[in-house]
């Protein structure tokens, strides 16, 4: 054991021993207490039941719990405690404040009357409830018809809540909700709330149910979602010890996370991962982070940090029916904390191996109807390993700091002004100056990008109508980190601007069942100036419209019908054409806590600017006078996916258990890739621009092969006792093709067959937190293009075997001063050195320490 290792372990132990006080998945724990409490209350064990509810509220405050506590006290005949709980509930300013206030007034009157008159002998409190009901006892009969109607309505709503009534939807307001307004107005408010960064993850009517907003572009229980959905909460993020977003996604069943460098990762879902992974749409508060010019999510360039994230929703499966192009294999929606919902100031500092330094500041505030969130951060980290040494006689290092893996400084401001419950205006913007690695396609290798990213976004909510506009900007330089000395450089400039506007309308109505309709239109202008493009500056205008109807035919069965049409300027053989994305899903909920779903959908990925317009002579290594011409193709068809999925999502609140099982078959065709190098006509071989002769041309083409991916995924979240959280998932997939030889099928051998994830977190009641997780990925074989060793002007396809690997991360956290300061020690990549792509860095262990202060 080396001395540093000894000290590091000693430091970890020191942190443990310093601990004086500390819980795992708060939602599951709180839900377990809530359910147990409600059962006890049903059995008239009011004290024990109320204690359970109080425990749930302590773990994770939810206004509905206060309401139920108040009702329990009322049923138990303990009016002072009931009044106190009702008042605590009213302090949360719930939408049903008026009716609750009226109830409080009645109770106070009753209490006064009771104090003046002793209760009759033999009377037993709390015996007026309906036998066998899951609900607390109803209040004493109201004295007026109006009050009776109000209470009846309230009872009906609460019954729906506890039984997960289908029609209830979350309110977009960040204020917690305990009961419903009129269903129609609630529906309008909740539609597309994910794109406004609200915090509806646990703010539904049913306390502690998992809610998602991405699957249907409105808030709903994850049981109602038509897709396989995984939610990563802020608590998961904090306890995981992950320092990057891709690292967090390893816990998503079916997610392929391929880290090539500390700032460079490619994420795909259900196979088809690659350098420049381009089939998953990544959103931040509904704003795309997919870089249209190249087809990549620059994870290190996202303008937000982990500390600003409220939750991440991952839709595993096609999402084009709602989100259009590029949501082919899934959607990752990163939802930030809603303005004004956090602490006034939160400072965090991190340092650790690889010269890692990170500091961040997040502030929330409110002034009347105006709420804001402001943040700033800096981060840098060295590469795990370097491909080339300095001072070599053959290759030159282009970067000033060849050790640097990623570095960036960013700032964000997000504001929202609320005029009324369903009318608000939100403005947000951010900038990120960063340097990171990316790994392009084909013969190109490790690039670095020195870029400025910026965005501005505006949201307007007008009842059932929502308007959104945003601007995404990316500019800077990109080029190979290492270039043969004397060879023409491929460093180039990039400037990408995307302007997007959209309007959404949501409405619910009754017609042979309950309908919830969402309609949207969208326009997007893309202007890209990129040195690798033919003509340098390119511009495209895209338009789209979609409609979705969620139709509850009968109580346990809902049909979700979605259809989206996207207009793309090149899709019809180089002319404007359309891509259609229908989806039909059925969600069957035969009993509480169980949902079975079946879905048939299509999705697509549109050709990127790189694939449409590139003209790049790539130098042949060692033959400076020769290049291979890579060209775009304006005749490309979109990549297409037809998907079938069956799923079962269930929960057992009393056990603190959630699970999700999915079976799928994805049929993928028209994949876009580089063709084999084709000789050019003799008269076209000299390229005056590069001063080289073109040995041939490789152009982006649609493959003829049809790929079929079949797989199964299962995941559970378990919180059996307080403080302990267990997450586990397993995914199996098999990709096949109609190619005559298996060895020709890159996506088949590149998709890992098995992926396993397991994670345990434990929080003591003494302020100490432990977390460890491990992700296993089975071996793969990557087919990559390389110049032939004997004749570099010839490009060969070489198979590179990649052994199986396991990523292990761990974290120990300690609350030094309750609600003021906490520290944590995190171990990253503890599973040992490995690579996740044949051309990627060899990933090494690192240890980080963090200090978080919330004054």
């Amino acid at each position: 054991m080396t001395i540093p290792t000894v000290f590091r372990r000693g430091a970890l132990l020191a942190l443990c021993l310093c601990a004086t006080e500390a819980l795992a998945d708060a939602r599951l724990e709180a839900r377990r207490h809530f359910r147990n409490g409600m059962n006890l209350i049903e059995q008239k064990q009011f004290d024990e039941g109320i204690a359970e509810l109080e425990e749930a509220y302590k773990i994770k405050p939810h206004p509905s719990v206060l309401y139920n506590i108040a009702r329990a006290y009322q049923d138990a005949g303990r009016l002072p405690e009931a009044l106190d709980a009702f008042k605590r509930y009213l302090a949360a300013n719930p939408p049903d404040a008026a009716s609750v206030q009226a109830q409080v007034a009645r109770l106070e009157a009753t209490q006064q009357a009771a104090s003046a008159e002793a209760p009759p002998p033999g009377s037993t409190p709390g015996t007026t409830g309906t036998p066998g009901s899951n609900l607390p006892m109803p209040p004493p009969p109201p004295t007026s018809i109006q009050a009776q109607q109000q209470l009846a309505m309230l009872m009906e709503r609460l019954e729906k809540a506890v039984n997960r009534a289908e029609s209830l939807t979350a309110n977009a307001s960040p204020q917690p909700q305990a009961s419903a307004n009129a269903p129609a107005s609630n529906t309008a408010n909740s539609s597309d709330s994910a794109q406004q960064g609200d915090t509806s993850g646990d703010q539904g009517f049913v306390p502690y149910e998992e809610r998602v907003v991405t699957a249907s572009r409105r808030a709903q229980s994850s049981l109602e979602a038509p897709n396989a959905t995984t939610v990563i909460t802020s608590e998961d993020i904090r306890l995981s010890g992950a320092t990057t977003l891709p690292e967090l996604l390893r816990r998503v069943p079916g997610a392929d996370v391929m880290a090539l460098g500390v700032g460079s990762a490619n994420v795909s879902l259900r196979g088809f991962n690659q350098r420049l992974s381009n089939k998953v749409l990544v959103l931040v508060d509904g704003r795309t982070e997919y870089q249209d010019f190249i087809g990549l999510t620059v994870w290190a360039g996202l303008p937000i940090g982990l500390e600003e994230i409220d939750r991440i929703e991952v839709i595993r499966g096609p999402g084009s029916a709602l989100y259009g192009a590029n949501a082919m294999l899934g959607v990752i929606n990163i939802i930030t904390q809603a303005p004004g919902t956090g602490r006034r100031a939160r400072f965090s500092a991190m340092a650790g191996g690889g010269n890692t330094v990170q500091g961040s500041f997040v502030s929330h505030g409110q002034n009347g109807a105006l709420r804001y969130r402001a943040s700033a951060a800096y981060r840098q980290e060295d590469k795990w390993t370097r491909d080339y040494a300095s001072g070599r006689p053959d290759f030159a290092l282009r970067d000033e700091d060849p050790d640097l893996g990623t570095r960036g400084a960013r700032g964000n401001l997000s504001t929202v002004y609320t005029f009324s419950d369903d009318r608000s205006v939100g403005l947000s913007g951010g900038v990120h100056r960063y340097n990171t690695e990316i790994y392009p396609l084909g013969l190109l290798r490790n690039y670095s990008m020195d870029a400025l990213g910026a965005y501005a976004k505006g949201d307007v909510e007008l009842g059932a109508v929502k308007l959104k506009a945003f601007w995404n900007h990316l500019s800077g330089t990109a080029g190979p980190q290492y270039e043969a000395i004397g060879q023409r450089s491929l460093v180039t400039n990039i400037a990408s601007n995307v302007f997007n506007g959209e309007a959404l309308y949501a409405r619910g109505f009754e017609l042979a069942g309950e309908h919830q309709v969402n309609i949207g239109v969208e326009g997007r202008l893309k202007r890209v100036a990129f040195g690798y493009l033919d003509g340098n500056l390119r511009e495209e205008f895209h338009a789209a419209a979609f409609i979705q109807d969620e139709w509850r035919i009968v109580q346990p069965l809902r049909l979700v019908v979605s259809y989206r049409v996207d207009r793309h300027p090149l899709l019809d053989k180089g002319q404007p054409g359309i891509a259609q994305s229908p989806r039909l899903s059925a969600v069957f909920q035969p009993m509480e806590g169980h949902a079975f779903r079946a879905s048939v959908a299509t999705a697509f990925r549109e050709p990127t600017f790189l694939e449409s317009y590139t003209r790049l002579p790539v130098p042949v290594p060692g033959v400076n006078g020769v290049s291979v011409l890579t060209t775009g193709n304006r005749q490309l068809r979109p990549e297409r996916l037809n998907a079938l999925e069956l799923g079962w999502r269930g929960e057992s609140p009393r056990l603190g258990l959630d699970w999700d099982v999915a079976l799928y078959q994805n049929t993928v065709k028209d994949l876009i890739g580089l063709s084999p190098v084709q000789r050019l006509p003799a008269g076209e071989t000299y390229d005056s621009g590069s001063g080289s002769y073109l040995v041939g041309r490789s152009l982006f083409t649609n493959e003829n092969a049809i790929y079929t991916a079949r797989g199964a995924e299962a995941g559970i979240n378990l919180s059996p006792i307080d403080g302990l959280g267990i997450k586990a998932s397993a995914a199996y997939q098999h990709v096949s093709s109609d190619l005559p030889e298996e060895g020709q099928c890159g996506p088949c051998s590149q998709a890992p067959g098995f992926r396993l994830f397991g994670g345990i977190t434990y929080r003591t009641r003494k302020d100490l937190e432990f977390g460890v997780d491990a992700a296993f990925t089975s071996s793969t074989t990557w087919v990559e293009r390389e110049p032939a060793a004997t004749d570099p002007t010839r490009v060969d396809l070489l198979a590179n075997n990649l052994p199986a690997y396991t990523v292990v991360n761990a974290r120990v956290g300690y609350d030094v001063a309750k609600d003021f300061a906490s520290v944590a020690l995190m171990g990253s990549q503890l599973g040992g050195g490995h690579a996740e792509h044949p051309f990627g860095n060899r990933i090494e262990r690192r240890v980080f320490a963090t200090l978080t202060v919330t004054p």
Partner: protein, 412 residues
Amino acid sequence: MKRAPSSPFLRGLAAVTFASLLALGCDSPEVMPTADGRQNTRAARIEGSLVVQSSARGNAIVFLYSADALPPPQGSGRPLAFTVIPAAELFGASLGDTSTGPFTAPFALSLVAPGRYLLRGFIDADTCRLIPQPCHVPDFNPFYGVTGEPNAGDVGGGSVDPATGAARILEVTTDADGWPQPLTGVSVSFGSTATVPFDRPAFQVAESRDFDTSSATSKVLTLTPQQFTGAVDQRPPGFWVQLVDANRDGIPDDANADGVPDFWPRVVVRKLADVPGVVDENDLDRNGLVDAEGVDYARVNGGKDGKPDAVVLAAGLAPDPLLAALLDDQGKPRPQPVFVPQLTVLIRALAVDARDPAAPAPLTAVPPGRYSVTLLQSTGQTWRVPNELDPVLAEPAGLPGVASQAFVLEVR
């Protein structure tokens, strides 16, 4: 001693500070190549300057040859790599005039492995800017044999010893750790005196392609000049012949001591591989060197040697017509080359393994198959049939098909 009071906060802060200091890694990332082939090689580079003294204008092409496989006319080596220095970079503001310089520009050959090398090059000149037709626009194309050599008006050059004018052998060495050392400051000179006087010796064959070695001991081929225009622009007025006088002593050389002087051009009849196209047997990678693995034939002395052979047929030019043109009335060699309208090639039913050109080894039998015929001029320019102008090959390559260029000697 009284123990200093400490709060949980201070203890925690101390703990995290301690842990941070320990965890903070200050070492640079380790250098660890990935599976990328380029990261697992060790190479250097050759770089230096071009010096051009000529009124010719065009891109400069610099070829890297292995010293073990010299280019024509000394050998049959092919370039390992080449680089292009664009005319605009080389001539700058003088690109449009006729000044003779000198003009200089840097050049580099990247990723050169340790070894001994030779640099040659030429200016792919646009002669049409100075002289009317017939002239050449820049027409070098490295990917085809019919376009990969200099033409009339191009300016030759190379890395030469300034004192002797002989070609320099450049050596890329390695240091004690095995790292190749870059070779810098190399000069490659181009001058008007090295202007290529004529086009390549493009020819066509009049006779049939059959050579039945069981019934005939020799085959006679009559070569006549073939002219092309367009993408392949070769307009040789005839065959430029001269007596070989390598040591310039005024006495024609007679390498095989058969009493007949040696001539330029030389003729090579080489066996082709049994694959589509015009690829020499046992040189499938077309680098001019015999492959490590291939077809082996029995030698007269010793049988098969276990190594692939470079099979050529014994062939030469019929001397009489040439001597008549090359000797004066007194039988003395004329000082200048002369043009002849045709060449007669005599091919014997004798095959040799020319893997070592200095010591060709006769084979026990003439391997049947397809053979190419190559003419090699003293300037290093060559022409071979069959070539890419074979109509079958020409169309996909975007070249004009010429039936005569599909000629191949079919040996049975």
